[in-house]
């Protein structure tokens, strides 16, 4: 029996339980993509409605109205207002929060007036009842002229009735208009209909309000003309209409909702807020939460990361032995598997970070954090919502940059993305650890371990650099868009573990598939650069060392020197000499581009150290002599210069890949790469010249 496939759009306010309902419908059968041409994420999934109907559900970005203010919200409007859009739904579900009915049915009434097949899913009716808000669902359904289903998305209550209602609505338009704009603005709407060649009063009204409907460019001039002719100011008619609409909503609510005295629930939120938004304790609690988050991402993920690392090592060894020796073997093991390992190793950090963020967001705490930090961060061109990306950057910039998506102002979001990689991430840690142990004495300073203090200073330096660059970018990046901070502070609630898990799965998928493609490509290029040499140099090296002790080790080092990567290292040597680096560090800088922690491995190969044991690399590097002076090569000045370079330089292709993905423009990763490079070069130069 063939089933009929219908399209469903899911719309609603942020915090209305939209995502929870989407998850309840689709389970893990979700797909995250992008709307063509723009960065807005498109989430869709498949669901079974009945024996006869299957549905494709599109989760529209959360919005309060069909008057879009951000790119996200524009998508919701575009899909719903344009019946030629490929995602135009057969049925629209608007989800509304029953505890906040007045505001949350505003969007619904607009959808009704577009004359769409729509169902209202009234979420959390049980909680509203507990709060003393009694809603007469049948009367509401009658007043609105559509089907209204009470659900609890989290518990999964009412989902079956909702499915039945959807099927009934496939060929059922709303019984009446909610607010007839034609009565308010009379002739203008009819004229606008004529210009647009459609018979949809409300869509024409939205077009008149200068809402960018797709395919509306051609009519723009004619509509502007119309506005002039009738002396209409689009902002004014939109405001007038909104006020009228709320008047009708208030009437409906008056007849359908009965309020009793508030019960204890609201008091709970109030008491918790007394503490969490406290001018002193609020910040202390926030810092403690951060500390815990940092610990989790940093130390808990160490175990799964080690496991992934050893799995890939085993897999590499196994593959190397199982495949016939030769070029293909080398490409698979040192190019592809090494690249894959470099991607998968980040998965635990991403999972932990997003688990925490989803948890904090779902409880409602995040809204409070941005409430108390907005003022402080705005001074440097950031937003209250920038705090999480910035601090998660101390673990890994990749998930941190993905979490900047909650910032609605494009300029503030862009600045956040641009400065987050300056925070010292965990990949810099092995580099710092190696160099500090070589060049910083194990003395005590004011009773603290000096090495530890230097390490801390580098973390602080990263944060200060991020703040500094942000305040510069505030003046450089031009934006006509005004920055707003208009945010709902939702009541606290116990987080829904399902939502947390779905968020983790979604973010990990995005990272693996989108950033992964680019990382693999660059890994293969790096492999090729270090595995090939011009002419027959490799053969000569092999013959030279044949039969001698430690041949394999020496061959590897000499081959790297002769390879294209080695040639590049030698070519850039004059440029990095003023920083105190030689061509060998030059190669490490280049290979570090795959990921900073590669530095330790490259240094060990290049200085012919047999194993990756940090202790032995350290001993070996200490014995490296400066060929001109005969003294130890790694002096404190070289060490500090090298650490500064690693602190500031953009040596992480995963980050560049994710910046491209989030901004959909190569301009930004390129600018980021350049400004961080300049910053790194200058600070290393100054430090080396001053210290040596």
């Amino acid at each position: 029996m063939s089933k009929e496939q219908i399209k469903i759009a899911l719309a609603g306010n942020p915090n209305s339980g939209k995502t929870t309902l989407f998850n309840a419908f689709t389970g893990l059968k979700q797909k995250v993509g992008n709307y063509p041409g723009i960065t807005v994420e498109k989430k869709s999934g498949k669901a079974k409605l009945s024996g006869e109907y299957n549905a494709e559900i599109i989760d529209l970005p959360g919005t309060y109205s069909l008057f879009p203010k951000s790119m996200d919200e524009q998508v919701a409007q575009q899909v719903l207002c344009n019946n030629t859009d490929e995602d135009y739904p057969d049925v629209t579900i608007v989800i509304a929060d029953a505890t906040n009915l007045r505001r949350s049915i505003f969007l619904l009434t607009q959808v009704i007036d577009l004359n769409m097949n729509v169902v209202l899913a009234l979420n959390m009716v049980d909680i509203a009842t507990k709060k003393g808000i009694l809603i007469n669902v049948n009367l509401l359904s009658e007043e609105l002229g559509i089907q209204v289903i009470a659900i609890n998305a989290r518990k999964g209550n009412g989902i079956e009735s909702l499915k039945e209602a959807i099927i009934k609505t496939i060929d059922e338009k709303p019984k009446k208009l909610f607010l007839d704009v034609n009565k308010i603005f009379k002739k203008v709407i009819e004229k606008a209909n004529e210009i647009r060649g459609v018979e949809n009063n409300y869509a024409s009204f939205l077009a008149l309000c200068r809402q960018k409907l797709s395919g509306e460019v051609l009519n723009r001039c004619a509509l502007n003309q119309l506005c002039k002719q009738y002396e209409i100011i689009p902002e004014r008619i939109q405001a007038k209409e909104t006020v009228k609409r709320y008047k009708v909503i208030d009437k409906v609510i008056f007849s359908c909702v009965k309020k009793e005295a508030l019960a204890g629930k609201y008091q709970f939120t109030k008491k918790l807020d007394d503490l969490l938004i406290h001018p002193f304790f609020g910040y202390i609690i926030f810092l403690s939460v951060l500390f815990l988050l940092f610990q989790a991402v940093f130390s808990w993920s160490a175990y799964p990361m080690e496991l992934i690392d050893s799995l890939f090592t085993d897999l590499s060894i196994w593959t190397a032995n199982a495949m016939p020796k030769g070029m293909l073997n080398d490409l698979v093991v040192n190019g592809i598997l090494a690249g894959l390992g470099g991607i998968f190793i980040f998965v635990p950090q991403i999972a932990f970070l997003f688990a925490f963020i989803a948890f904090l967001e779902d409880t409602g705490y995040m809204a409070r954090v941005s409430f108390i930090t907005d003022k402080l961060l705005r001074g440097v061109g950031l937003n209250g919502r920038s705090i999480i990306p910035l601090l998660s950057g101390a673990a890994c910039a990749v998930p941190a940059i993905m979490s900047a998506r909650t910032i609605s102002s494009w300029k503030e979001r862009l600045i956040t993305i641009m400065v987050t990689p300056l925070m010292s991430c965990s990949a810099r840690l092995p580099v710092y650890a190696l160099i500090i142990s070589m060049v910083i004495p194990t003395d005590e300073f004011l009773g603290f371990n000096l090495q530890g203090l230097v390490m801390m200073a580098f973390y602080l330096l990263g944060f200060l650099a991020a703040i500094g660059v942000a305040s510069l970018m505030k003046f450089i990046i031009k934006s006509k868009e005004r920055s707003y901070y208009i945010m709902e502070m939702p009541s606290y609630k116990i987080p829904d573990w399902k939502t947390v898990i779905y968020t983790i799965v979604e973010k990990v998928k995005i990272f693996l598939f989108d950033a992964g493609k680019i990382i693999i490509a660059i890994s293969i290029i790096l492999w090729a650069l270090s595995s090939f040499a011009p002419g027959k140099k490799f053969e000569k090296i092999e013959q030279e060392w044949i039969g001698k002790t430690d041949a394999e080790m020496h061959i590897a080092a000499d081959k790297l020197e002769a390879s294209y990567a080695g040639i590049i290292g030698k070519t850039i040597e004059p440029a990095i000499k003023p920083l105190g680096f030689d061509w060998k560090i030059g190669i490490s800088l280049i290979t570090s581009f795959a990921a900073r922690e590669v530095f330790v491995g490259t240094m060990s190969t290049i200085y012919s150290v047999g194993d990756d044991n940090i202790q032995s690399i350290q001993e070996r590097l200490k014995n490296v002599k400066n060929q001109e002076t005969g003294e130890a090569f790694f002096t404190p000045s070289v060490g500090i210069s090298l650490m500064l370079f690693y602190a500031f330089a953009m040596q992480c292709m995963s980050t560049l890949a994710i910046v491209y993905r989030e901004t959909k423009d190569w301009k930004w990763p390129v600018i980021q790469f350049l400004y961080m490079g300049v910053l790194a070069y200058l600070s290393s130069f100054i430090a080396y010249q001053m210290l040596s």
């Binding site: 505001r103 939109q238 709902e488």
Partner: protein, 77 residues
Amino acid sequence: MQRLANLAIGTKGKIRSISDSDLEQKLLEMGCTPGEQIKVVRRAPFGGPVAILVSSYVLSVRKEDALKIDIKLLKDE
């Protein structure tokens, strides 16, 4: 008549008007229509945002924006 930005926590009032058209659009659709009753519930430290209770939910706006919102004070019952 008072500006929202200058009201103390616990003050009740009714929204009279919003003097910035762009801001007005955004607040109107969030339910801050003229005549709607509000109550100041929180103020962030260091001149940060102001949180108000409006049609049974809590909304926060920046202090500069709150300066553009006119409120008619209501006597406590």
